[in-house]
Amino acid sequence: MEPVLELRGVNKSFGAVDVLHDVDFSVTPGEVTALVGDNGAGKSTLVKCIGGTYTFDSGEYLFEGQPVTVHTPRDSAALGIEIVYQDLALCDNLDIVQNMFLGRETLSGITLDEVSMEQAARRTLTSLSVRTVKSVRQRVSSLSGGQRQTVAIAKAVLWNSKVVMLDEPTAALGVAQTAQVLDLVRRLADQGLGVLLISHNMNDVLQVADRIGVLYLGRMAAMVKRSDVTQTQLVELITTGRVGGIGLQPATTGANG
């Protein structure tokens, strides 16, 4: 399947510090692509560049096969890329519907069209088979961490998005809630979205991802199928950049696995 989002040989440096070096990466619709790597490997920078917070210095950024320029978060949102932030970006004092439509409220005349927003929010949650939320008019402050994450993800899905990037979606969650959220991540992909999951948690990644990209010191050490690696191999890839035949070979700097 054609990737919905593809990066070819992108670079990014901050002053003298090379953060991303000739990185190739892609997200395919219908798949969960995980992005892993140790602290400082460049995950956040890569995600921020995709989202438009930063701009790549060089390299190609293709969306649905077409080269695009993404300079601001607005550009990426217009393409259909939604980011679910680690710190959630929800307003505690607003209810679920209000949060899902924040900044993009539906109006009828000059007043808010609460009825159509509530229906759309319900439909989205229903389509994601979310059953943990009692009422869509609950305030977000009354929700658990998992429910909040669910709302944040549903918010990203509401907007006809094609790629959803999730930044450490399970970092603050308990076991049951993590399972719920991973379940939801899987369903997003099953609906045909390209899902990019950034995570530190090996269990989560191995459980839900179809493909795994490993960043090592700013280089893409490997882009492997989930079925091709074991947890031990993955950990070694993250910590040393190579394992067996895959990964960065000592002689060939800059090459991709």
Binding site: R74, Q98, T111, E118, S127, R131, S135, R139, S144, W159
Partner: protein, 451 residues
């Protein structure tokens, strides 16, 4: 991106799926459930206006019991009038407090606007409408200035408005001590400007206002109810709707009826001895709903609409709840921040007009003293949070009435040298109590995960 496109709409069967198996198809909840969910909210620390409303009832009952003249018709009308400048200021402050900011200059800004209006009318002899426009315009300019200093220069609002609080006292002093016409203690001669606060409408007009208020409220509630039912969404039970509209109708009817009674102190007339002749002095007549009631109702309705039904209001709540989330959602938070100061200062200018109208004049102290703190107290007592994100214009109205009842009741209760001292102490204590309730309910909301 105006219409959300949904994935797999064919999966949408019934909202019941969302609410759980035991939750049947769309319906209006039962009255019992409604009451239950209300108490759940109260337990979680979200008490709304309940404590303030309860406090109002208790205070009125107390003052009436210890001092029967507190409940006189004349005092009822006085109470409502006295509360009006505080309510105006407080309704504006609610917007600022919603962002977690403070406007300490609102009181003296009201003073400056009152002085501008009075000077225009007295020194420059302009028509009253021009004088009022001058005051309102002055309020807007002050708001823009404050907002830019806070949002763009990024000085904390506490510091900006504290500085302006001091500066505006000087501005007021300069306006009353200079310029054409009277200086020092300037008296308003214009009869219209004087009657804004002191005048009352005819008896029939009071009934018309009450009827319109009830009808508009009922129309809004019923249309929301019908649209939600048609769309298959859960609504409040119809009985609750009826009770709400019914109680508003009864309450406004009672208030208008009482205010339409003759409240003149000498209504019977008397026989006086003039130069040895007995002369009949006719009884006096003073009745009608004060005009300020209409003013407050209109402002309250307008601001409530703005906050709850428009995109702007939603963005104010969002910015107050989580500024970073609001920014990421594309909300222009700087512009929202400036706008709330403009609203606050605009409402302050209206309060200033009322203050000047009340005394039929101004001096350098108009809007100074405890004017601002009483208004902040009113908003907080009503249930607006000092931490941002929570508050309604209704809070300002109820809180403003509480403040007026305390001031009015205490001045009757404690006479003599310590009268105003006790009033200060009691009002301060009530403000502290309200702030403590706010802080504790916030902690409670954090602990229970609701709020």
């Amino acid at each position: 991106m105006s219409r959300p496109v949904l994935h797999k709409p064919e999966q949408v069967t019934a909202p019941a799926e969302l609410a759980g198996a035991e939750d049947p198809a769309p319906r209006s909840g039962s009255v019992g459930e409604h009451i239950n969910s209300y108490f759940t909210r109260v337990r979680a620390g979200d008490m709304g206006s309940l404590p303030a409303f309860g406090g109002l009832v208790v205070l009125v009952a107390f003052f009436w019991a210890v001092h029967p003249s507190f409940g006189s018709l004349g005092n009822l009308s006085d109470l409502i009038k006295q509360s009006s400048p505080t309510i105006c200021l407080a309704m504006g402050l609610v917007f600022v407090l919603l962002l977690g900011e403070i406007d300490l200059a609102a009181g003296t800004a009201a003073g400056v606007c009152a002085c501008v209006m009075t000077r225009l009318s007295v020194g420059y002899e302009v028509h009253w409408s021009v004088a009022i426009l001058g005051a309102l315009g002055c309020g807007i300019v002050i708001g823009v200035l404050t907002g830019i200093l806070c949002a763009k220069v990024r000085i904390p609002s506490f510091v900006v408005t504290l500085a302006l609080f001091l500066a505006f006292q000087g501005v007021s002093l300069m306006i009353v001590n200079n310029g054409p016409g009277q200086t020092g203690n300037v008296s308003l001669a214009d009869s219209f400007l004087g009657s804004i606060y002191n005048g009352q409408m005819d008896a029939w007009a009071g009934w018309v206002v009450a009827a319109v208020v009830v009808l508009v409220y009922a129309a809004v509630k019923v249309s929301t109810f019908v649209r939600r039912q048609r769309a298959g969404l859960i609504t409040d039970p119809a009985a609750v709707l009826l009770v709400k509209v019914g109680s508003l109708a009864v309450a406004s009817a009672v208030v208008v009826y009482l205010l339409n009674q003759n409240r003149a102190l000498n209504k019977a007339g008397s026989i006086a001895n003039v130069n040895g002749h007995l002369v009949k002095v006719p009884g006096q007549k003073l009745l009608g709903v004060p005009w300020v009631v209409l003013l407050i109702v209109l402002l309250f309705g307008g601001l409530t609409f703005l906050l709850t039904r428009t995109r702007y209001g939603r963005h104010v709540y969002a910015t107050g709840g989580n500024t970073e989330a609001a920014r990421r959602a594309g909300i222009p938070v700087d512009r929202i921040r400036i706008s709330v100061f403009v609203i606050s200062s605009f409402m302050a200018s209206i309060a200033g007009i009322l203050l000047a109208s009340n005394l039929r004049g101004v001096d350098a102290n108009t809007g100074g003293g405890n004017t601002l703190l009483l208004a902040v107290g009113a908003a907080v007592i009503g249930g607006t949070s000092l931490f941002g994100g929570k508050g309604r214009p209704l809070d300002a109205v109820i809180g403003g009435l509480v403040i007026a009842v305390i001031a009015n009741g205490m001045s009757d209760l404690v006479k003599g040298a310590n009268s105003s001292a006790v009033q200060f102490i009691v009002t301060g204590a009530v403000l502290l109590l309200a702030a403590a309730v706010d802080a504790l309910s916030r902690r409670r909301a954090g602990a229970t995960g609701a709020g």
